[in-house]
Symmetry: C2
Subunit: 164 residues, 2 copies
């Protein structure tokens, strides 16, 4: 008998039933350390984050406990700012706040961690906690899956080309 | 006819029914600016935070968007560390993360704001968002109300003596 293990070559984006959380699960051909680097190195991060239609630049980035971050994404003449603070940055986990500056009263608490699956594969787990179901469901209805999927596809490319 | 308005001379600590949030409501004889100062000035903050049985000292404190904070409370030979980062510090609101260092995997997102009630009174609203009901209910069962009530009574004293 062989164990059948679910794989996530595409991101699965789920709404938790009990609490106002969005959960994302996605497998990568990478080590946990490579995925951590892709999320903490600002030069790498802006090369893959978000949908293909935007480009991003770092404004502030201090990836350590108590540090903060801000980046701006551009599409044509439009600019979208995002900012937050890093509560925890360890080898295993990132906990940070997240705000789209266009809706400054909406603050999410994000947690990111990785599971080594063996065979060169690692599973990314991301959790975004909002303070209401309305806020959480607004994010889910915003088209966020395009940015998640296109962003992770770019990260796949950086990993396969050896740039991470 | 006169409007009857509920007053909160003692803190009301409530568990939200829908989401894993603790809500605290408490009235003070103070202006919103005085209450904001009592929460952002580190020298003032350590004079009132927590139960009467402890004393606290600031280790890190940078009360601005993207800053961080850490304080240590002592009771006899025991020390308890608390830390987090400030997501938002404005005239109206503080949004910050909160961790008791004895349970580093539990991170809450706290929001604090004030309502001017007139007649020299201001209402404090505090919200702590956890990522599970178990975590939230653990805080409620921890005896936190002692620290809340004794801390706010000390703050009443600082306000009435003109020290804030």
């Amino acid at each position: 008998m062989s164990a059948v293990q679910t794989r996530y070559p595409e991101a699965v984006i789920e709404a938790d039933r009990e609490v106002p959380i969005i959960r994302i699960t996605r497998d990568f051909r990478a080590t946990p350390a490579q995925l951590m680097k892709a999320h903490t190195d600002p030069e790498l991060f802006v090369r893959w984050v978000g949908p293909d239609s935007i480009s991003s630049r770092i404004v502030d980035w201090d990836a350590r406990d108590g540090g903060s971050w801000r980046y701006v994404s551009s599409r044509g003449d439009e600019e979208f700012g995002f900012r937050g603070c890093f509560h925890t940055v360890s080898d295993e986990k990132i906990v940070q706040t997240f705000t789209f500056e266009g809706m400054p009263d909406h603050v999410a608490l994000e947690t990111l961690w990785f599971t080594d699956l063996g065979d060169g594969m690692t599973r990314l787990h991301a959790q975004s906690l909002c303070d209401s179901f309305a806020d959480r469901d607004g994010w889910l209805a915003s088209g966020m899956e395009t940015g998640v999927n296109e962003g992770y596809a770019k990260l796949d490319g950086l990993l396969s080309s050896g740039e991470v």
